[in-house]
C-alpha cells in the first residue's frame, strides 16, 4: 500500500480524548503509546485501521486508539479480526488480546489462525495473570509460582507463546516489552508491514496482581543487570528467505527454539522469525475467485439502480435445468 505520499501525521491523532481506567503503572499504557507511534510512523489513515480486542484489561486497548475499535468476546478477537480483514483486505487489522484471552479460552483460534496466515498483527499483552478478573493465574504463568493474587501456587504449567506460535504456523514472531517503547514501536511497525499473520508477545507487567515478573524484575534489580536483551543487537537473523532449502529452514528453527526457551537471567526480545515461504490467505482467495482485491466482499456491488440484485444465476440454473 502506497502511503509515502500522504502527509505525515503525529501519534496524537490516534489518541482519543477519553479517560483510561487501567491501574496506575500498568504496562498496558506503554503498549498503546507504541501503537500510536507505529501508526504514525506508517502514516496510516485512522479509518483504515481496525483494532480488535478480546476481553480483559488488555481487551480495553482499542478504546485508547482513535481508529475503528472492536471490543469482541473473550477469546474471540482473532476470528472477528479475520472476518474484518477478509471482507476488506484494504484495512490494517490489529488484534489486542491478553494471555488468557489468547492462550486459554482463545487457544483454539490462536492455533488455527496460524494455519491460515491472514494478514493481521497480533499483539498479546502477556502479564501472566487474568487482570480483569482479579489476578487468577494466566496460561503463561509458570507452574508452582504464586503471585500475590493467588491463594495457592499455580497448578498449571505455562505455555510458551513463541513455541505455540511457531507450532501453529505464524509467519512473523516477535517479543517486545511494554516499558521499552522505542523498541516496541519498531516491532509493531515490522509486524504491521509483514504480509501475513504476525504474532508479537509483549511482556507486560501488571503491578496490581503480578508481583513476580515486575518492572523491577525485568530491570534485573535483584541480579544487577537488566534481564532483557535485543536479539537483533546480538546479530540474530530471523528471516527464512523465500525458497530456503531444508537445511537452512531446520537451522533457523533450531535457533528459534533455543532462543524461545531462554528465560530467567537473560530474556531475548526482538524478532524471532520471519518466514517468507508462505503466502497470505488473501492471495489464496484471490487465486480462487480472481477479482478478490478489486471487489472484496465489503464493497462488491449488489444491486442495480432499481434495487434489483445484480446476481445472474443463469449459468448455475443451466446446471440444474432438466432438459
Amino acid at each position: 500500500m502506497a502511503v509515502a505520499t500522504k502527509p505525515k501525521v503525529t501519534p496524537k491523532i490516534y489518541k482519543p480524548e477519553f479517560p483510561i481506567d487501567w491501574c496506575p503503572g500498568c504496562g498496558d499504557f506503554g503498549i498503546v503509546n507504541a501503537i500510536h507511534q507505529a501508526l504514525a510512523r506508517l502514516n496510516i489513515p485512522r479509518h483504515q485501521v481496525a483494532v480488535v480486542g478480546g476481553i480483559g484489561c488488555s481487551g480495553k486497548a482499542q478504546y485508547h486508539v482513535s481508529t475503528y475499535g472492536v471490543h469482541t468476546l473473550h477469546g474471540r478477537p482473532v476470528p472477528y479480526a479475520t472476518g474484518i480483514r477478509l471482507a476488506n483486505p484494504h484495512l490494517h487489522v490489529i488484534v489486542v488480546s491478553g494471555d488468557g484471552d489468547s492462550m486459554a479460552i482463545g487457544a483454539g483460534h490462536f492455533v488455527n489462525a496460524g494455519r491460515r496466515n491472514v494478514n493481521f498483527t497480533y499483539l498479546m499483552f502477556n502479564n501472566e495473570v487474568y487482570g480483569l478478573t482479579k489476578g487468577q493465574a494466566g496460561p503463561t504463568l509458570p507452574l508452582g509460582l504464586q503471585t500475590k493474587s493467588l491463594p495457592e501456587p499455580n497448578m498449571n504449567a505455562a505455555v510458551n507463546p513463541l513455541m505455540l506460535a511457531l507450532a501453529s504456523g505464524y509467519t512473523w514472531i516477535g517479543r517486545g516489552y511494554s516499558y521499552n517503547i522505542r523498541h516496541l514501536v519498531n516491532l509493531i511497525v515490522q509486524a504491521i508491514e509483514h504480509p501475513g499473520s504476525a504474532f508479537l508477545d509483549i511482556l507486560q507487567p501488571c503491578p496490581t496482581y503480578n508481583d513476580l515478573h515486575t518492572k523491577e524484575w525485568f530491570a534485573g534489580e535483584d541480579i544487577g543487570h537488566g534481564r532483557l536483551y535485543d536479539l537483533q543487537e546480538e546479530g540474530y537473523d530471523p528471516v527464512i528467505p523465500q525458497d530456503a532449502d531444508e537445511d537452512t529452514v531446520r537451522a533457523k528453527l533450531l535457533r528459534f527454539i533455543e532462543k524461545a526457551q531462554e528465560w530467567g537471567d537473560r530474556i531475548p526480545i526482538g524478532v524471532f522469525l520471519v518466514n517468507k515461504n508462505i503466502d497470505m490467505y488473501e492471495e489464496r482467495i484471490n487465486r480462487r475467485v480472481g477479482n478478490y482485491f478489486e471487489t472484496p466482499p465489503a464493497v462488491r456491488p449488489l444491486a442495480d439502480e432499481n434495487g434489483i440484485t445484480l446476481t445472474d444465476l443463469s449459468p448455475i440454473f443451466d446446471e440444474y435445468l432438466m432438459t
Binding site: I13, P297, M322
Partner: protein
C-alpha cells in the same frame, strides 16, 4: 399416467456408499426430463459406508409437495432394503430384488436394528412366515404385491462381455440397472433414463457409454423375462412442458443467498448444513448483470464459534455475510449471537434443524430448535427468526434474510431443517427480478477522512434504528462492544444510558413487526373462511398442503395458517384465525409443540389438538390427511403422535 393412480411412489434402498443416491438421481432426472413433477425424499444414517439409506421419489403430472409412506415400486439390490421396506409396498405394487437375496435370514443382515429385526420377526411369525427375506417376499406376494427377482450378476456379466470391460467395471452399473429395470416395468421410455443418467455423469463420456448399454440390457431383460401385467403402474412422459430445475433444499438456500448478495460465508462442516457451503464453494464465482464478475468468499473455520465471529466481523465492513449450521453448531454460536444483537450486526445464520437434543440424530429431521432460536443468549437481545416451508420459500427467504438483517440491524436466524435440506424437487426457475436488495440506513463516507470526531453510530431514534457505518468508511470512526455502550460504542455502566440503549435495541423489534408486511409473516392456504384451522411452520407445509387438498376433495373445509416470521411473533396477524378456529390444530415435528407455547404466550389461545412427530422423520401428506379427518370427525385424542416403525 398409471393404471390405477395418477402418480407413482418409487423407492430405492441400499447401504450407504453403494450408490442409492446415484440411482435416485438418475430416476428423478429421467422423470423431470420427461416433464413430470418430482418430489424426492432422502433418509440416511450418520455414517459413511454400510448403513442403510433410502430414497423416495414421487412423480406425478401435477406438482407434488410431500412424499408418501406407501410405496408403489420398491427397487432393491441387497437384502436389508427388502427387509425394511417390503411391508410398505401397496397391493398392485412391485418389488424388484436381487435374485440372490431371495432367502437371507434377518439375523444375517448386519445393520438391521435389533428393534426392526424383532418387530419384523414377530410380524412374520404372526403370519407363520420365517424370519428371512423369503418370508418377507412371501408376505408381499400374499398381499398382492408383485415380486421380481433380478439376476444382477448375470446382467453385468453380459454387459462386461458385450463391451469387453472387466466384470468389476460392469458391476458399477448396478444402480443404473436397478433403476432401468424399474423404469422398464413402468413402460417408461428408455430414452429418458439415458438422458437422466447422462446428466448425473455429466462430462464423463466413458461412464455414460457404459451405463447407456446397461440401460438397454436392463430394458431388454424386463421385456424378455418379466410379466408386468399384474403390476399396476405405468409412467408416461409429458408432451409439452417448460424445463424445470431439479434442486434440493441446501441448493435452494445457497442460490437464494447468492441472489441476495451474499459475499462472505463461513462454515464448519456439520450435517445437514454442510452441503450448502460446499455448493457455494463450487459456485463461488458467477456473472453480475453489470458485466463484472461476482464472487463470494467461503471460509471453512476451525469451529462454529469462529464461524459466527468471522461472519460478524465481515458484516461490520459491509459484506453481506452469513453462516450455516445445525443445532450443535448453533449452540456454540450463542455468545456471539448476543454480540451481534448488541452491536446491531446484520449477520444471517441459516439453521438446519436436525434431531436433538445434543448430537441427537444428525441426519434426521426435527423442528425442536424453535424456542431456542428465539431465546438463545443471556439477556434480552433482539433477533429476527424466519422459517421456510418449501424450496421456493427457502430461495426467496434466504435472499430476504439479508434485507431484514440490514434494515433492522440485527442477526437473522433462518430456520430450515434436514427434511427440507434433503428434499429434491422440480421447480420453475426462480425469478431474480423479484429479488430486491435493501441495505437499510448506512452513513456515507466523509470527505475529510479523519472526520470531526467519533461517529454516534448507536444514536437512539424513534424506530430504534441508527445509521450503520461500514468499518473502513472515512471520517466516521467509532467503537463496537458487547458491553453496554454509549452512542459512540464505548463501554458505559451509566443506568440512564443503559436504559436508553436497551430500549433502542428492543424497539427495533417493534419497528420490524410494524413494517414487515403481513404476507411475509403469515400465509393462509386452503379455505380461508373455514374454522378447521391448522397452524404450523417450516417444512411441514408440503405435507399439510397435500392433506388440505385431499380434505377438500372429501368436502372438508379447512385452512392452514403458516407462520413464516417466528420472531417477532406475529400475534396480531394470527389472532383473527385463532379466535374463530374450531378446532385449532397445531402440527409440528417435535415432542413439545414449540409454536403452541408462542401462541399461548402471545395470544392466550392454544391448540385443541396436537399432531406431532419426533421420530426424526417428516410428515407425509396422506398420513396427515387421515389424522385431520379423524380430528374433524371428533374421533381423536388431543395429542396425536405419529409413528411409523419402518421409516
Amino acid at each position: 399416467m398409471v393404471k390405477q393412480s395418477d402418480e407413482l411412489s418409487w423407492r430405492v434402498g441400499g447401504p450407504q456408499g453403494s450408490g442409492v443416491d446415484t440411482a435416485a438421481g438418475i430416476f428423478q432426472r429421467a422423470c423431470a426430463i420427461a416433464g413430470l413433477h418430482v418430489f424426492g425424499r432422502r433418509e440416511y444414517y450418520s455414517n459413511i459406508k454400510g448403513r442403510h439409506s433410502y430414497y423416495d421419489v414421487r412423480v406425478a403430472h401435477y406438482p407434488l409437495t410431500s412424499h408418501r409412506e406407501q410405496v408403489d415400486l420398491l427397487v432393491t439390490f441387497e437384502p436389508e432394503s427388502l427387509a425394511r421396506h417390503a411391508l410398505a409396498v401397496v397391493p398392485g405394487g412391485a418389488i424388484v430384488y436381487n435374485v440372490r437375496d431371495a432367502d437371507v435370514p434377518l439375523e444375517k443382515i448386519t445393520f438391521l436394528d435389533a428393534r426392526v429385526r424383532a418387530d419384523l420377526t414377530a410380524y412374520l411369525a404372526e403370519h407363520e412366515l420365517p424370519a428371512t427375506t423369503a418370508g418377507v417376499l412371501e408376505d408381499a406376494r400374499r398381499r398382492g404385491v408383485q415380486v421380481y427377482p433380478v439376476p444382477y450378476n448375470e446382467i453385468t456379466q453380459q454387459l462386461a462381455e458385450r463391451l469387453g470391460v472387466p466384470k468389476a467395471i460392469a458391476d458399477r452399473t448396478l444402480n443404473t440397472i436397478a433403476v432401468s429395470i424399474s423404469a422398464a416395468m413402468l413402460d417408461f421410455p428408455a430414452e429418458y433414463v439415458v438422458r437422466g443418467m447422462a446428466h448425473v455423469f455429466k462430462g464423463r463420456q466413458k461412464i455414460i457409454d457404459l451405463n447407456t448399454e446397461a440401460i438397454h440390457l436392463a430394458y431388454q431383460y424386463v421385456h424378455e423375462h418379466f410379466d408386468t401385467e399384474p403390476f399396476a403402474f405405468r409412467l408416461d412422459a409429458e408432451k409439452e412442458h417448460p424445463p424445470r430445475l431439479l434442486l434440493n433444499g441446501n441448493q435452494a438456500v445457497g442460490l437464494g443467498k447468492l441472489a441476495g448478495g451474499l459475499t462472505f460465508q463461513t462454515y464448519y462442516p456439520i450435517s445437514p448444513a454442510t452441503d450448502e457451503s460446499v455448493f457455494l464453494e463450487a459456485h463461488s464465482t458467477f456473472p453480475l448483470r453489470n458485466g463484472q464478475q461476482g464472487s463470494v468468499v467461503i471460509v471453512q473455520t476451525e469451529d462454529e464459534l469462529s464461524a459466527i465471529a468471522m461472519a460478524s466481523g465481515a458484516a461490520l465492513t459491509g459484506a453481506r455475510s452469513a453462516t450455516a449450521t445445525s443445532g450443535p453448531g448453533f449452540s456454540l454460536m450463542v455468545e456471539a449471537l448476543g454480540w451481534a444483537s448488541m452491536n446491531e450486526v446484520p449477520v444471517v445464520i441459516t439453521l438446519y434443524m436436525r434431531g436433538g437434543p445434543s448430537t441427537g440424530m444428525p441426519t434426521r429431521t426435527d423442528q425442536a430448535d424453535l424456542l431456542f432460536a428465539i431465546r438463545a443468549g443471556h439477556g434480552d437481545a433482539p433477533r429476527i427468526v424466519l422459517a421456510s416451508g418449501d424450496l421456493e420459500e427457502a430461495f426467496y427467504d434466504a435472499a430476504q434474510a439479508f434485507n431484514y438483517a440490514e434494515r433492522y440491524q440485527m442477526p437473522v436466524i433462518h430456520l430450515v431443517d434436514k427434511a427440507l435440506a434433503s428434499t429434491t424437487q422440480t421447480l420453475e426457475p426462480f425469478d431474480l427480478r423479484r429479488v430486491h436488495i435493501e441495505r437499510g440506513l448506512i452513513a456515507p463516507p466523509l470527505s475529510s477522512p479523519n472526520g470531526t470526531g467519533p461517529y454516534p453510530r448507536f444514536e437512539p431514534s424513534e424506530t430504534g434504528i441508527s445509521s450503520r457505518v461500514l468499518v473502513g468508511t472515512p471520517g466516521r470512526i467509532h467503537w463496537f462492544t458487547g458491553a453496554e455502550h454509549t452512542e459512540l460504542g464505548r463501554v458505559t455502566e451509566d443506568p440512564v444510558v443503559r436504559e436508553r440503549m436497551m430500549e433502542k435495541r428492543m424497539r427495533k423489534l417493534e419497528t420490524a413487526a410494524r413494517e414487515i408486511p403481513p404476507e411475509e409473516k403469515v400465509r393462509v392456504y386452503g379455505d380461508e373462511h373455514a374454522t378447521f384451522t391448522i397452524v404450523s411452520w417450516g417444512s411441514t407445509k408440503g405435507a399439510i398442503l397435500e392433506a388440505l387438498r385431499r380434505l377438500a376433495k372429501k368436502g372438508v373445509r379447512a385452512r392452514f395458517v403458516q407462520v413464516r416470521l417466528l420472531w417477532p411473533f406475529p400475534a396480531d396477524e394470527l389472532r383473527p384465525y385463532l379466535e374463530d378456529a374450531d378446532p385449532l390444530v397445531v402440527t409440528e415435528l417435535s415432542y413439545s409443540a414449540h409454536i403452541d407455547a408462542l401462541l399461548r404466550e402471545t395470544t392466550g389461545i392454544g391448540a385443541d389438538y396436537y399432531v406431532l412427530k419426533y421420530s426424526g422423520r417428516p410428515f407425509a401428506g396422506e398420513v396427515l390427511y387421515t389424522v385431520f379427518q379423524r380430528i374433524h370427525a371428533g374421533d381423536a385424542e388431543r395429542r396425536i403422535v405419529l409413528h411409523n416403525p419402518w421409516e
